[in-house]
């Protein structure tokens, strides 16, 4: 007897009990689709978060340490010369850009309203290094930074509060900060607080008209050449600043260096474990499905004892009977696996389609089906067919023909 014939006999056996076959498969279908869908969601969350954070992952933030170091030298401020040293390519090859910033709080006023905004003074590259976009107008340019132009780019909360919902209305209007007038040249898109409550101006403008403060900066953002150069760039930053501030002992550093990269790695690890955990929970339903297949195959063998006797009487060998029942359970589990994959992928696509309806946070969220989850869950369903079918099939094959024929 060849395999094709065995498959045909097995299929006929399954078709004869359509509802029962379908219900048995349902266990596998639910298990496989749950594994695929849940893993896809986990991956979707991971890649959506990474997508948002990745552009910022090569950023290193340097802020001055607050407070005196007991027994140490008086902490030095970060100043323009520090910025220039960091930007010097002869000191570090890993640094692509250096953006100084000073920040503080100040009232932003129109004739009718006043808003306590976070004032940021920086260079023309601030917007793009922070991966932010404008909803209206433009950002200030290098010339405006050099000339300390009296221009301001508003965060969306500020613009809405002062000028209403339409960002375009705010353009070219005047905002008073520290009793000085500034022209609104752009409105930023939302990034969440506190960024939405910020008003960004050229560094020189803030120094001259708002906070003063000479050559001090509150914050230096260093952009590493690549995301994977972040640790090296971080080391360079520490070396350059320690040299400039004459610090030998790391405990005495008067600045702090932070990068998002390491936090992102931690986050990814946690998410990975969570994804594995949910997949494991889904795999339990696959296990329950396996018991369903075993159960049905045992019933099927008992119910068809007489048929097995007939087949043996007319010449079926043990192997032929074994094959028949094994293929039946393999088809049952394999077909369940394929349908489960289709359902799982379908659910994932559906999830991607409806996710944006849940708000802007989910705009970039899309469950991502991984090949490995598909391959593994299909492999497991085949293994279920083999194992859950093997025992009943073996029992059927060993039946003695006279006893099987006598079975009612």
């Amino acid at each position: 007897m060849n395999l094709r014939e065995a498959v045909r006999i097995a299929l006929r056996g399954l078709r004869a009990n359509r509802l029962r076959s379908l219900l048995t498969m349902l266990g596998i279908i639910i298990g496989v689709s749950a594994v695929i869908f849940l893993v896809a969601i986990g991956n979707g969350v991971q890649s959506s978060v990474n997508e948002k954070i990745q552009p910022l992952a090569n950023l290193i933030t340097i802020v001055p340490s607050t407070g005196d170091i007991p027994g140490g030298a008086a902490p030095k401020d970060l100043i323009d010369a520090d910025v220039a040293a960091l930007a010097d390519p002869s000191l570090s090859g890993k640094i692509a850009a250096v953006i100084p910033a000073i920040s503080g709080k100040a009232l932003a006023e129109t004739n009718d309203y006043r808003f306590r905004a976070g004032i940021v003074g920086s260079t023309e590259r601030w917007l793009d290094v922070n991966n932010q976009d404008l909803s209206a107008g433009s950002f200030f340019d290098a010339a405006q930074v050099r000339s300390a132009a009296r221009v301001v780019v508003l965060g969306p909360s500020v613009a809405t509060y002062l000028f209403g919902d339409d960002p375009a209305v705010a353009l070219n209007r005047t905002v008073r900060i520290n009793r000085q007038s500034f022209r609104v040249i752009g409105v930023m898109q939302t990034v969440g607080e506190p960024g939405d409550s910020a008003a960004v101006m050229p560094l020189s403008t803030v120094r001259r008209y708002v906070f003063g403060g000479g050559d001090k900066v509150n914050q230096i953002i260093v952009q590493a050449a690549q995301a994977n150069a972040v640790p090296a760039a971080e080391n360079d930053v520490i070396r350059i600043l320690s040299d400039r501030h004459r610090i030998k002992d790391p405990a005495n550093r008067d600045f702090e260096v932070q990068s998002l990269r390491s936090r992102l790695d931690t986050f990814n690890q946690i998410l990975h474990i969570l994804t594995l955990f949910t997949a494991a929970v889904a795999a339990i339903s696959l296990f329950v499905g396996a018991i369903g297949v075993l159960n049905i195959m045992l019933v099927s063998v008992t119910e068809r004892t007489r048929e097995i006797g007939i087949r043996k009487a007319i010449g079926a060998t043990r192997r032929a009977i074994l094959e028949q029942f094994l293929i039946e359970s393999l088809v049952l589990a394999g077909l369940g696996g394929v349908i489960g994959i289709l359902v799982g992928v379908g659910l994932s696509l559906l999830g991607a389609a409806v996710a944006p309806a849940f708000g802007p946070t989910f705009a970039t969220f899309a469950p991502a089906v991984t090949i490995s989850s598909v391959v593994i869950s299909f492999g497991i369903s085949l293994a279920i067919g083999l194992i859950a079918g093997g025992y009943p099939a073996n029992r059927a094959a060993r039946l003695r023909p006279i006893e099987a024929l006598r079975f009612q």
């Binding site: 007489r306 048929e307 007319i314 010449g315 060998t317």
Partner: protein
């Protein structure tokens, strides 16, 4: 040719031993039509199971076409059943939810024959069911089902056709048709062994072997066989 030499079959039921066959000697030549008769418990079903290679004897020899099949493995017995033996059962034993023609094809499947449709169709035509190929067993009358079973038994051209109470579940008319069919097959040269407890059925055979308590008590040739055509 079938030869049984001093064949014994003992069943063990717990601690009790039941002797179903006591030293049976029997030879059936090619082309014979033999009825094995006896009341229930006489050992005729045990004999039939051994003749059909469904069961192995406890001692003695069983030569089928010269080969001793009394000590063969499961697998070899399956091959012998496939090639040399055709079964007809009292309860037809067709595979349910499977069309007549597929039932007839089954022995060919297990014998590894590739072209099956035509021989199966011919076999069904031979038993007068050429127009019932696609019918399921439950759509056929008892007589028709038994004819499908006979077609199935013949498909591998077996050395011997074993019929166990072939008319036990049939009415008089259908019984007569089946027996006539078996007679015709024998006339065409097929060896036929019928196991029965009905004298009427046995009267179709050329030779009647009577059994009682595991022994053969008489073995006689019938001259005036009912329904004989030759």
């Amino acid at each position: 040719m079938l030869q049984l030499e001093d064949l014994t079959k003992i069943y063990r039921m717990g601690k009790v031993e039941v002797r179903a066959l006591h030293g049976v000697d029997l030879t059936i030549d090619d082309g014979e039509m033999v009825a094995i008769m006896g009341p229930s418990g006489s050992g005729k079903t045990t004999l039939m199971n051994i003749l059909g290679c469904l069961d192995a004897p406890s001692s003695g020899r069983y030569l089928l076409d010269g080969t001793d099949v009394s000590r063969l493995s499961d697998n070899k017995l399956a091959k012998i059943r496939s090639k040399k033996i055709g079964f007809v059962f009292q309860s037809f034993n067709l595979v349910s939810r499977t069309t007549a023609i597929r039932n007839v094809e089954l022995p060919l499947v297990y014998a590894g024959v590739r072209s099956r449709r035509n021989p199966a169709r011919l076999a069904l035509e031979q038993v007068g069911l050429g127009d019932r190929q696609k019918h399921m067993p439950n759509e056929l009358s008892g007589g028709q089902q038994q004819r499908v079973a006979i077609a199935r038994a013949l498909i591998n051209d077996p050395a011997i056709l074993l019929a166990d109470e072939p008319t036990g579940n049939l009415d008089t008319v259908a019984s007569a048709e089946i027996l006539k069919l078996l007679g015709a097959l024998n006339d065409a040269g097929r060896t036929v062994v019928i196991i029965t407890h009905e004298a009427e059925v046995a009267s179709f055979a050329k030779r009647i072997v009577r059994m009682r308590d595991g022994h053969i008590v008489s073995d006689q040739v019938q001259r005036n066989r009912t329904g004989a055509t030759a």
